[in-house]
């Protein structure tokens, strides 16, 4: 599958495997509906784009992220439909791609089992709820955590059409874009996303999102004044 994905994603652009793209995840896929992955490419200068993908998922790409005014870092949770490579691909201004990743074993069906909130039937009651917080880092950036309530239907279950959060933008107080991403239904139900925008303590941030039915999502928060105690 890698060759096919690579051709679609990278075209003729140069591609290198590079361990400085740190793709980190737990040793066990305890829950194939929600598998945490972090891509840390902060050691590479000039990252323009970060793509998170799982080769053997029916929806291979999870997030296509442009950290326009943010550190090259992305953490989220994805569905796993079977044992698969999980990869991070980062693109530099030159157009070159750097790729890394690893295999994870998983029980099947992360993309083809119904979302928990569909089974419970309460997804619509919580749609639009967003939780989040931002903490300043010593680097001058902040650590922004966003948790959305959304069923993230893959279209592969019970004739329920695909329905997912598909766009997310973080802006500063002047409305300038700091981070922007396209999101696919292979991101886990109730998407949880961690970013590092270049926003210091007290900075105001706004979050705009849209799902595949055209519903808009808005949130606002201020970066905390104090960083948490180191653990």
């Amino acid at each position: 599958m890698w060759e096919a994905h690579a051709k679609l994603l990278f075209g003729d652009a140069p591609v290198r495997f590079d361990p400085r793209v740190k793709v980190d995840f737990p040793m066990i896929a305890e829950n194939q509906r929600s598998f945490p992955v972090a891509i840390d490419a902060r050691a590479i200068p000039g990252v323009k784009r970060i793509v998170l993908m799982a080769d053997l998922n029916p929806i291979p790409i999870a997030i296509d992220y442009r950290p326009s005014d943010s550190d090259a870092y992305l953490a989220t949770r994805i569905k796993l439909d079977q044992r698969t490579p999980v990869r991070g691909a980062v693109q530099l201004a030159s157009g070159e791609w750097l790729v890394s990743g690893g295999w994870i074993d998983a029980a099947g069906g992360g993309c083809s089992t119904p979302p928990v909130s569909r089974v419970k039937g309460d997804w619509a009651e919580h749609l639009g709820e967003i939780r989040g917080e931002a903490w300043p880092l010593s680097t001058g950036s902040s650590r922004l955590r966003l948790n959305f309530r959304h069923p993230m239907d893959t279209g592969l279950v019970d004739n329920i059409p695909t329905y997912h959060l598909e766009e997310l933008t973080v802006r500063d107080a002047n409305g300038r874009e700091m981070a922007q991403m396209a999101i696919w239904a292979s991101v886990a139900e109730d998407p949880a996303i961690t970013l590092m925008p270049h926003a210091a303590a007290d900075a105001a941030l706004t979050i705009e999102g849209r799902d595949s039915n055209g519903r808009d999502y808005r949130a606002a928060l201020t970066v905390a004044r104090q960083s948490p105690m180191p653990q």
Binding site: P26, I28, N31, G132, R143, A192, T194, A219, Q231
Partner: protein, 315 residues
């Protein structure tokens, strides 16, 4: 694959080092813990093909009425081998098999017994009826041929807290919860030994897929208050003192909850939370990193929903 001489030698060396369970037959070695009571120590590891899923501790008790088993392992093949070993040991047929809770490493083996002699708490039987098929699928996926012939069978006998007397040797039954929705612990009155089920782990990190931590603490208090001698934990070595394993289990779940709470408050994502340092005092615990990462998966979303503030605005 091309086999070289060096490759053959390496394969030969590996064969000598493989654990007993890798040969396709379960090796069951009961160790006497007291008068007429034995423990079969499961591998202190995750469920894996190398151990055939035989990771839970099993207790065998000889009573005048027959042999009593507390838990019976992950598969039909295991439970058949266990039954043979236990009956040879005591010279009497198995008359009772208790299933302490719903997890498959403890209970899938009941397929080897007449359901009428298999006893569990009502909550365990309900949970098995609901979740058993999923557990069974997961065990087959992980263990393949070790599971051959193992069907999901429900315990046929419902028990509640109290006492069961086997013609002169009685077991006290404690109906608790916290590791799962229904956890059975037992005390053998003759030896004074406590059989903790998975409420108690010892030098093996506790697992939390169905845990309710506050309820678990209440149950550990109850076990501490219950008079007993040594303790056979659900996983890990025998605790001769009977207190250390309870204290260690409590220490781990307290540390776990506090650490993950602090991790959410510090803005860590799940990957980072699973990589937090584990204190030196838990260095003796097998599978600690593995269970921490599993627990992050189990507990983190709930903590985030509780601790992260709402920031959404009207569209």
């Amino acid at each position: 694959m091309i086999l070289t001489r060096r490759g053959m030698l390496a394969a030969g060396a590996a064969l000598i080092a493989v654990p007993a369970q890798a040969q396709g037959n379960y090796v069951i070695e009961p160790v006497a813990m007291g008068d007429g009571i034995w423990m079969v120590h499961g591998a202190d590891e995750p469920i894996a093909p190398a151990n055939g899923g035989a990771i839970a501790n099993i207790t065998i008790i000889a009573t005048p009425a027959g042999t009593v088993l507390c838990d019976c392992g992950p598969s039909l093949a295991y439970a058949r081998a266990l039954r043979k070993v236990a009956e040879e040991l005591t010279g009497k047929p198995v008359v009772r098999a208790y299933v302490t809770h719903l997890h498959p490493d403890h209970g899938m083996g009941i397929a080897a017994f007449d359901p009428r002699i298999v006893a569990a708490l009502p909550g365990t039987i309900e949970a098995l009826a609901r979740e058993g098929r999923g557990y069974s699928d997961a065990m087959y996926r992980l263990l393949n041929d070790w599971m051959r012939g193992t069907e999901l069978v429900l315990p046929g006998r419902t028990i509640t807290a109290g006492r069961e007397d086997f013609s002169g040797r009685a077991l006290k039954l404690l109906a608790l919860s916290g590791h799962s929705g229904a956890d059975l612990a037992l005390v053998d009155e003759r030896s004074g030994l406590m059989i903790g089920g998975d409420l108690v782990f010892h030098n093996r990190a506790p697992s939390t897929p169905t845990a309710d931590l506050p309820a678990w603490r209440v149950s550990l208090d109850r076990l501490s208050a219950e008079p007993h001698g040594g303790l056979i934990p659900g996983h890990g070595p025998y605790d001769p003192d009977g207190r250390a394993a309870i204290a260690q289990t409590r220490d781990w779940i307290d540390w776990l909850e506090e650490t993950l709470t602090q991790a959410v408050r510090s803005g860590l994502d799940m990957v980072e939370a699973g990589e937090l340092p584990i204190p030196d005092r838990f260095a003796t615990m097998a599978a600690a990193r593995y269970e921490l990462q599993r627990s992050v998966s189990h507990l983190y979303p709930g903590l985030e929903a509780r601790l992260l503030p709402r920031i959404d605005q009207p569209g």
